[in-house]
Amino acid sequence: MAKTKQVFSSISKHEKRNFWIYISPWIIGFLAFTAIPFFSSLALSFMQWDIITPPKWVGFENYKELMDDKIYFWNALRNTIFYALVGVPLSVTLGLLLSILLSKEIKGINVFRIIFYLPAVFGGVAVLMLWSYLLYPGTGNGDAGLINAALGWFGIEGPGWSQSEFWSKPAVILVGLWGVGGSMMIWLPALAGVPKELHEAAEIDGASRWRKFWSVTFPLITPAIFFQVTMGIIGSFQIFMEPKIMPGNQKAWTDSLMVNLFDNAFTFYKMGYASAIAWVLFIMIMVLTVINLVVSKRWVYYESN
């Protein structure tokens, strides 16, 4: 304690002033674009406001209305949970498997890495629209997009994708999987961080490939897995572009909470109601992140421990 005090007093006024000067862009931005909007948003969620007439305080009315809204809110919530529950495990597993394939420094591996990474570089509206065409329904015999035609090569009759209530959500997830190679940015360094000696030692002990993965590699990359799962959950709760641009035949099939929020705020100008949706989303993300953190203590391995 005495020591820290000494350190503090040894910091010159000049240094303290410089600290504030250099970090001032962040401080200003934090207040203007994060802190003030954050609390305003909470306050707004207790109000009714259409921008034209003055705002009115309604207490928990917006939240009550949300809970009763089985048609839009609950439906969007179900869809969003589907994206998280199905999409996140799929993309984490596939991303890791691909990265393991790409991790060995063999001849020409960089060409493969570039090809696998490429789809992740393409983002935005164009790609999503492209995918709505690739997923054009139809069978291998009639007018069909590439995906169903390709399934036809193997004698599989492709599903209706956006035309089917069941397949429209997987269609949304599928687009994200095309870009799963982007996650090698996280996986490759993590895999490279696994010491070679440990693998060699396991090999001498006669461990099989599978055994080496589970007993050596897996524990050492759990921090990266934890990171990917956390970011994946947060991202899947905010999914917007995919359902907005390539919606199912009926919007309700694919609408996420974010689409619901956007429609309420910027189409119907229900600013208070939309803010309440934002807060429900925020609280759900927070709760999931905290659960994830707590559970992670049981399975994530840090070298320092």
Partner: protein
């Protein structure tokens, strides 16, 4: 030197031993690896190849089965028609203005703030840095509506300001990465520059910033991608078609033509919109792939 040589030699010996011990399975394993990689690569590239071929076909050919990979008739005018009805260059220029401003803003502000955190001591520094990290947890949608109302108050709706200005206030992830990197730069460099009469700002611009080049390039690429591909921002803030970004333009082109969509032209537009990203990737590929060892940062 000699030590590394012996190491290399012993390594070679080990390799030889291993390879003589089990030559056949190793070759098979390797070929299997290449085979799997090639199949997946082909699957990933197929959509692109299909689009390129579709963009050159007459609309009637595009969804025909079996797929005609080589168009029966090359419709190069799909491209010229897109460019005549779709203000591709205007939209690209608009997007470029926003993107370049955002990049300049992010780099300047993030380097400055990260330098502040890495090099100047303050009793509150750790608390504030934790706050920086905590903001990463706040999803954008919570602050989105009040921000919209604020920009509306400022009269910024239908201008590029809401899309540009926030970038001048340093994003948390960029601060984090740069701070880590700057802390790895020996402080002696600062000290000696100070001896030569360099101010703290001089140290930042002449020593720290140039050394941060790899991270800065990574941040530039991230910022480029985030802004070039941004859809929701322009959708919220821009109404005037003349001011549309590329993403919004393509979206409106599709939404406006439902039912009578000219597919060949749509695919041509799609590909044209991907070209800038592809060019950037080709140039900065090295940085895309290995810019950051996030894995290392995660362990800390």
């Amino acid at each position: 030197m000699s030590q590394t040589n012996t190491e290399a030699i012993s390594q070679v010996q080990i390799n030889q031993k291993a390879s003589t011990k089990s030559k056949l399975p190793k070759i098979m394993l390797r070929s299997l690896r290449y085979l799997v990689l090639t199949i997946i690569a082909a699957m990933l590239l197929l959509p692109l190849v299909w689009t390129i071929s579709a963009s050159l076909k007459p609309s009637s050919d595009i969804f025909s089965v079996p797929i005609k990979w080589v168009p029966s008739e090359f419709k190069w005018d799909n491209y010229s028609r897109v460019l005549s009805i779709f203000p591709m260059f205007q939209y690209s220029a608009n997007t470029l203005i926003i993107t370049i401003s955002a990049i300049i803003g992010q780099v300047l502000s993030s380097v400055c703030v990260a330098y502040g955190f890495a090099r100047f001591r303050h009793p509150l520094a750790n608390v504030i840095f934790l706050l920086v990290l905590a903001t990463m947890m706040i999803p954008g949608q919570v602050t989105m509506i009040p921000q919209f109302l604020m920009y509306k108050e400022f009269g910024w709706i239908n201008t590029y300001l809401p899309l540009i200005v926030p970038n001048f206030f340093a994003a948390a992830i960029n601060i984090f990465l740069l701070r880590q990197f700057i802390m790895g730069i020996p402080k002696e460099l600062d000290e000696s520059a100070k001896m030569d009469g360099c101010s703290s700002f001089g140290i930042l611009t002449r020593i720290i910033a140039p050394m941060c080049k790899p991270i800065i390039i990574t941040i530039m690429i991230w910022t480029f991608n985030a802004n070039w591909n941004d859809f929701m921002g322009p959708l919220i803030y821009l109404n005037d078609p003349e001011k549309f970004t590329l993403q919004l333009g393509i979206y409106s082109l599709n939404a406006g033509q439902q039912g009578i969509t000219d597919y060949g032209m749509m695919f041509a537009a799609t590909l044209l919109a991907l070209i800038p990203t592809l060019l950037l990737f080709a140039v900065g590929q090295k940085y895309f792939m290995s810019g950051i060892k996030l894995g290392g940062a995660l362990k800390g």
